[in-house]
């Protein structure tokens, strides 16, 4: 098992942006995207090809599944950024477990202690965990803002350093999300 959903595509297959007839930008207008999606759906959906030949039906199935995959990717800012990263040749595979963002090392250490205490039945750890959870949520909101400004910067000037920075932020975001899930699971279970 190797490549994930964002492996570099075959040359010859239309990219998601080309399919939508849009320039490759990280900031997209959702209303515009939806409008194009509906227009293309009316053209490509298998419902329109039921009475056509088998080859045409196969093509429609292929084209509309690709359209749907494209829309699903482009409408979500994080998925969209990951897609652009992979298109630009960045490796966005699973990050290794040792990759703790350095600025989070201390927090993670304390969090693990608190989690262990709670699992051991020490209820005094609960407020600390709940505070950690709120902290992570605030961090995620901050990351959202950070991404938005990086998107704008790349759209104005498509430099690789910006993409590298975006990849770093996305990895951090994923890491914090996992931490948050861990906190929520434990706080919830022992409730």
């Amino acid at each position: 098992m190797a490549a994930g959903p964002h492996s570099p595509r075959d040359p010859g297959v239309t990219g998601y942006y080309e399919l939508f007839g849009m320039e490759r930008r990280l900031v997209l207008d959702p209303a515009q995207l939806q409008k194009r999606f509906y227009e293309l759906s009316r053209e490509l959906h298998p419902d329109r090809f039921v009475r056509k030949s088998e080859a045409e039906r196969e093509n429609a199935l292929d084209a509309s599944s690709r359209l749907n995959d494209a829309y699903r990717t482009l409408r979500d800012p994080v998925q969209r950024a990951m897609y652009v990263l992979s298109e630009e040749g960045f490796d966005i595979g699973e990050q290794r477990s040792g990759d703790v963002p350095p600025e989070l090392l201390e927090e993670v250490f304390e969090l693990n202690m608190a989690l262990e205490e709670l699992r051991g039945g020490d209820e005094t750890a609960r407020p600390q965990l709940e505070a950690a959870g709120r902290n992570f949520e605030a961090m995620l909101a901050g990351i959202g803002d950070q991404l938005a400004s990086l998107f704008e910067r790349w759209d104005a000037n498509p430099a690789r350093e910006t993409l590298a920075e975006i990849r770093g932020v996305l990895n951090r975001r994923k890491y914090i999300q996992n931490l948050l899930r861990e906190v929520e699971k434990n706080v919830h279970v022992s409730n």
């Binding site: 098992m1 190797a2 009316r42 959906h45 419902d47 009475r51």
Partner: protein, 614 residues
Amino acid sequence: MSTFQIDFGKRDRVVGIDLGTTNSLVAFLDLTGPEIIAGEDGGRLVPSVVSATAGGEIVVGEAAKQLLLSQPDRTVYSVKRLMGRGLEDVRDELNLFPFHIAAGSESVIQLQLGEQRFTPPEISAYILRQLKRNAEAYLGEPVNKAVITVPAYFNDAQRQATKDAGRIAGLEVLRLVNEPTAASLAYGLDKRKDGIVAVYDLGGGTFDISILKLHEGIFEVLATNGDTHLGGDDIDNLLLRIALEDIQGEWGQDLSTDNEGVQRLRRAVVTAKEALSFVPSTVIELDYKNRKYVREIDRALFDRLITPIVDRTLGPCRDCIQDAGVSVEDINEVVLVGGSTRIPLVRAAVETLFRAKPHTDLNPDEVVALGAAVQAGILSGDVEDKLLLDVTPLSLGIETMGGVVSKLILRNSTIPASATESFTTAVDGQRNVLIHVLQGERELVKDCRSLARFDLKDIDPVPAGLARIEVRFLIDANGILNVTARDQRTGKEQSVDIKPSYGLTDEQVEKMILESVEKAEEDFQARQVREAQVEADNILRAVEKARRNPAFSELTEEERTAVETAIRDLQATYHSNDHHAINASIEALNAATQKLAENMMNTAVSSALKGTTI
């Protein structure tokens, strides 16, 4: 009802079918909109009940519903609950069904009805064939293409089983449409305004909730959720259990082992349940084998009893709202579908949750079939301004190391949807790779639903890790998974051997289609014989009466003998099972009695004249 942009050319007719747990319907689209097609008896609903009589005849619908009382172990109802299911899934509720399960039912349930065995798709095919016949009789033309509705929350195996049923019935299933989505089409809500709509569908055996975004004729499903084992049947079973306990106490007798008694009691509780939607109080009443059971039940008690069942629908509703990325305030309209939404408590629960008065203008039993007919119109090109964009209800994944499921296509993805994964070999010269595909939201294989195992075969023997097989998982517009594989090194299509975990293989379906064609011929033959016999009965009765008429004695000796001979001939061919022979004898008798008929006519005229003063 909204109007439809229609362009009727000379095209194959496509009908819309609601293959329901309790009742099934067929509808078509005409110039004024979708219409339900009634059966010969005038009934718009065909009860989803099939009975295999001792004489080898298959009876469907209202007649089979009657047989449920006298021949319960040969009669199947609610077969939809068994579609695409394994024995383990339905073990609990099987004790409530009167029919037996045959041995060897692990991956496909086999129902033993007398001497014969049937799989759920075959039983459903009998219902579909009845609907097909009704449509053909009404439209006066052959009907071979259909749109069939399924619960939105049906998984791959349940969808495939429905498609198989269509094929066995001789129908090309152009599309499986989700029931709540079909209902939204029937309402023509898009004509009113753009907005967000929730469809709450509580039927006989299944529950669905879907949230859609409507925009200029596009019906985009944002999210769907549900429970394929929750519906009016559960309420019936609950009341039934209570009544059985009562009877045990009052009569000192366990009625639950008496199939006929149970079915009569089931009918009594259903009648009471239905009445309680309209009156505040009623009785469950059973008169059986000289014993009587009467129990009063009022709505307050009924509501208390069914609250847990109604509450089970609320969790999926909340999850669906969240998955759709909307809040309750964003939802502009709520539509109720399914017979169980007539229950006041259900309506109240929906109203409370969505803070809106739900639409109930269309008959909740018919709205799904009407929507299926609109979708049929979309596919045949008669309706051009509407388009459904539906979603897959469950995430699709594959088994990875340690029994963990790796998700490839997430739930609520718009379909068709696809995902591509590359696989390689672990051992030098390995020729096969086995892929286990599952559906569900949980992390572990044991908590998800096994769909199928795909064997990638005849891989070029190369050192471990060198092979690269690209596998494409594609969920089509019916919500059914298709898998294709390609060797990335050679670019060659890779053969994929599919072993469905639940359900029929393609070969089994093909065999059933052949058998059903043969059976259909037998059925047709039997029907022609029966029709000839009915006509023979009529003429024999008429001639018998005529022989007592004075006109008979006015015939010559020869003429009288000819009539007697023709009668004996017809009596002889009557049981020949040859409708040609019967019809020939009928004609002969007709000819032999021509003179008699004329004489009788003259007598009638002259006696009429005698009583008239001119």
